[in-house]
């Protein structure tokens, strides 16, 4: 494909869109599909066909809109008017939207209308997901029509690899997988590493409970990820890329696979891209369901077809990764940021966010909160704004107790720190991590010991078993937490828990191990009174834990009394 062909494609697509009087955009990502978007789409397509309005009204399936708990969502876009979003759309209601709004020009009112001024949208700033609600993820034309692949073309025609790395460095972008390593620096390391062949890997193996940022990025805008990867490959000198997707994300893998095929057919991926000497191929690797394969060295061994276990660094993947070659590995969300940075400049990106954490971050808002869904916010936003403005507060008049960030590797942030700006450093100082972006909100009915026990059980189950601190340490910590929950622990157990947590943190081999005690240690730090109540008073303050179910200690103390009672006639 040449520059002219790309421009023509974009122009044709824009003209085609302009020709429609009204466009009905059906959100078609996993949450909406699971709540019935398929039926809505079918009803709309059939109804338009029945009325012979194919030339006037367009029905398009798009990427994620955001408020996932309100799906299925339909956006009505008419010429010279503001977009209207309808929530909880049923197939019958979809036909009503078509008849009254699209044909009759009358905006429906009532509970089903989700205003654009809704605070859920107002405080967000979308960079990675900017196009997601408007484009068809399965159509190359749709992506090109929204300005897609201009960044790749610009890079290949006008910039040297050094300039690309410089631009990324200037933007201050940091790894979105959780570690927060400066992306530009990593690219520079791989670019300077010596090796005949270099590889590039996108990490789409997201396993945190309740988090789905990577899935949505891949499902909603697969071409954006591919474009970011191609730019990165050009910058570091790689010619083969792999996207590692969990097998539990069939839709993401299917859309990425389709996107790769379409891009190859249009000669945007493959040999001599845009007439340059740059070649780049991408293949998909499906993960087999191990959480530890989200850790970079574990992921690389899995891509190579070996047992998915991490190995000690150094050597870092930048020097010796896939088959011993220099390998650049970034999260898919990181790649999603690349094209906007190239298009709008590193300085623009650096103007968003805090001093050390630039740009925006996608969070999956889940748990006890009114508006659950996917949000993209500038770094430095406070937790209060996320919870009360975007999230709409805690339902049923309950109060906020803690926010769990970073999944099983993160920690709990109590209400006292609601006004802390969210960035890498602040979260680390609070004993948590940014992580990939899971944000679980808990209300006053959640028992923090039980939460710690849940995450510890997750880590124990997902430990690969290679190193001893993680394999045995997590299972010993889980035992202690279980004893606290069922009321058979003693106060010394708390010290043991802390000691063990510190040891697992310091001595484990990989990221899974050394972050696994975070939920336990952070709840122990902020909610020690709850732990003590379980042990001293043998009472769960929130009533979640069945403290009397296995009263091991009590049984010994009370056995004589119970025998006596049982013996009574």
């Amino acid at each position: 494909m040449t520059r002219e062909e790309l421009q023509n494609m974009a122009q044709r697509e824009q003209e085609k869109r302009r020709a429609f009087r009204c466009r009905l955009l059906v959100c078609y990502s996993t949450p909406c599909i699971s709540s019935g978007a398929e039926g809505v789409r079918k009803a709309l397509v059939d109804a338009v066909k029945e009325r012979n309005l194919n030339a006037e009204i367009d029905v398009t399936c798009t990427g994620c809109v955001g408020p996932c708990s309100r799906g299925p969502l339909v956006t009505v876009r008419m010429k010279d008017r503001e977009d209207i979003i309808y929530q909880h759309v049923t197939p019958e209601f979809a036909v009503q939207i078509l008849e009254k709004h699209a044909i009759g020009n009358e905006v429906l009112s009532g509970e089903n209308v989700l205003s654009k001024d809704h605070p859920f949208f107002a405080k967000q700033l979308k960079v990675v997901l900017a196009n997601s609600p408007f484009i068809d993820p399965e159509s190359l034309e749709s992506y090109v029509g929204a300005g897609g692949f201009t960044a790749l073309q610009k890079v290949l025609e006008e910039m040297t690899p050094e300039q690309v790395v410089e631009e990324i460095k200037k933007s201050g972008l940091r790894g979105r997988g959780g570690g927060g390593f400066p992306t530009g620096l990593k690219w520079d390391l791989v670019r300077k590493a010596k090796g005949e062949k270099k590889y590039l890997v996108a990490n789409g193996d997201e396993g945190d409970p309740g988090a789905y940022m990577d899935r949505t990025t891949m499902e909603s805008d697969p071409f954006l990820v591919l474009e970011g990867m191609a730019i990165a490959a050009y910058a570091v000198g790689a010619d083969q890329g792999y996207i590692y997707v969990r097998a539990e994300y069939p839709l993401a893998a299917a859309r990425l696979g389709k996107a790769i095929k379409l891009a190859e057919k249009a000669e945007i991926l493959g040999n001599r891209i845009f007439g340059s000497n740059f070649n780049f191929r991408v293949d998909i690797r499906l993960g087999a369901g191990a959480f530890v394969c989200g850790e970079e060295t574990g992921l690389l061994t899995s891509v190579m077809g070996r047992r998915g276990q991490p190995y000690p660094r150094p050597p870092f993947p930048a020097n010796s990764g896939l088959w011993g070659c220099p390998t650049l590995i970034n999260n898919v969300e990181t790649y999603g940021n690349i094209a906007p940075i190239i298009n709008r400049g590193g300085d623009w990106y650096a103007s968003i966010g805090t001093e050390k954490s630039k740009g925006t971050k996608i969070f999956a808002l889940a748990g006890e909160i009114n508006n659950t869904g996917l949000i993209e916010v500038p770094m430095g936003i406070t937790l209060r704004e996320v919870v009360y403005d975007i999230g709409g507060g805690i339902p049923k008049g309950r109060s906020f107790k803690a926010a769990q960030t970073g999944g099983p590797s993160g920690g709990c942030i109590p209400a006292d720190y609601l006004d802390t700006p969210i960035d890498y450093e602040n979260l680390a100082a609070l004993g948590s991590i940014m992580g990939s972006g899971g944000l679980v909100i808990m209300n006053d009915r959640s028992c923090m010991v039980d939460v710690a026990r849940f995450f510890m059980d997750f880590c124990r189950d997902e430990s690969c078993g290679k190193c001893i601190p993680c394999r045995v340490g997590t299972s010993q910590m889980l035992r202690i937490l279980e004893r606290i929950c069922n009321g058979s622990a003693v106060m010394e157990d708390l010290d043991k828990l802390q000691e063990l947590g510190k040891m697992v943190q310091d001595t484990s081999l990989c990221g899974l191990g050394f972050t696994s005690p975070n939920p336990t240690l952070s709840t122990l730090r902020y909610f020690r009174d709850e732990y003590e109540a379980h042990i001293r008073e043998r009472k769960c303050p929130t009533g979640v834990c069945p403290v009397n179910e296995v009263p091991l200690r009590e049984l010994v103390h009370e056995l004589p009394r119970r025998i006596k009672e049982a013996a009574k006639p």
Binding site: A290, D461, I468, R471, V472, Q476, M503, D506, T507
Partner: protein
């Protein structure tokens, strides 16, 4: 051969360039405890006993996989490191059923030696007492496999793969559920790839792999051969021209 200089526990010492920290330590009279490491096999850094503190590095590093660099400042026996090493051994003792009094390897067990060296005589953690382990595999004509004593160091797997070249043994499962398996998870006696060389038994640091017919404290193991085989290969002493 070029030589580098590094500081070990405050003393300046020299080591050949390219040596690992563990080699540098041992060549200079500083002994670090190890379990998964065996000279002649590729290091994996799994047991975490040889962790050392390197100045300027945020995390503790395993000496067996880290290359010694010129000017490194290394602490090997701080109070915290010793405490961590003890805890690791205690965790190992609590993991499966390590009962010396009925073990064939009593007397030649590296796990027990490490415990004795570091002064670990009991574990403060709850015994996990796993009951879901497969029964002892005694189908092989020479060797036996007892999962109860396995510490998942993978020395047998590496010796089978890298020294013998058979790759009969491997690992299944993950976390605490990982087990040594033979071929595609079958009885050892039915294995078509096992060459009956016995290298796995000799490299096993505990009583997991043993000669059939030996009883309590009767096992004798010799791990030195791995090193000689590797050295012979490197010097091409047996190569056919």
């Amino acid at each position: 051969m070029s030589v580098i200089t590094l500081t070990l526990n405050g003393q300046e010492v020299s080591a050949p360039a390219g040596a690992t920290l563990l080699e540098a330590c041992r060549q200079n009279g500083v002994d670090l405890p190890t379990l998964c490491h065996l000279e002649g096999l590729t290091p994996v850094g799994a047991c975490r006993l040889c962790l050392v503190k390197v100045e300027g590095q945020r995390r503790l590093v395993p000496a067996c996989t880290t290359e010694a660099q010129d000017g490194m400042k290394v602490e090997t026996h701080t109070e915290q490191l010793m405490e961590y090493r003890k805890m690791i051994l205690e965790l190992l003792l609590s993991e499966r059923n390590h009962i010396c009094s009925v073990c064939v390897a009593n007397g030649c067990c590296e796990l027990r030696s490490r415990c004795a060296e570091l002064g670990v005589d009991h574990t403060r953690f709850e015994y996990r007492c796993p009951t879901d382990l497969p029964s002892i595999d005694l189908t092989h004509e020479r060797n036996g496999l007892d999962h109860n004593r396995c510490i998942s160091c993978t020395r047998c797997i590496r010796a089978c793969d890298q020294i013998e070249g058979a790759h009969t043994l491997d690992m299944e499962g993950r976390g605490a559920a990982n087990r040594i398996i033979v071929d595609m998870h079958q009885n050892w006696g039915k294995s078509s790839t096992c060459t009956k060389c016995g290298k796995c038994v000799n490299v096993c640091p505990t009583g997991t792999l043993f000669w059939r017919g030996s009883t309590v404290a009767e096992m004798q193991k010799d791990v030195g051969f791995v090193h000689w085989i590797k050295e012979g290969r490197e010097k091409k002493q047996w190569s056919v021209i």
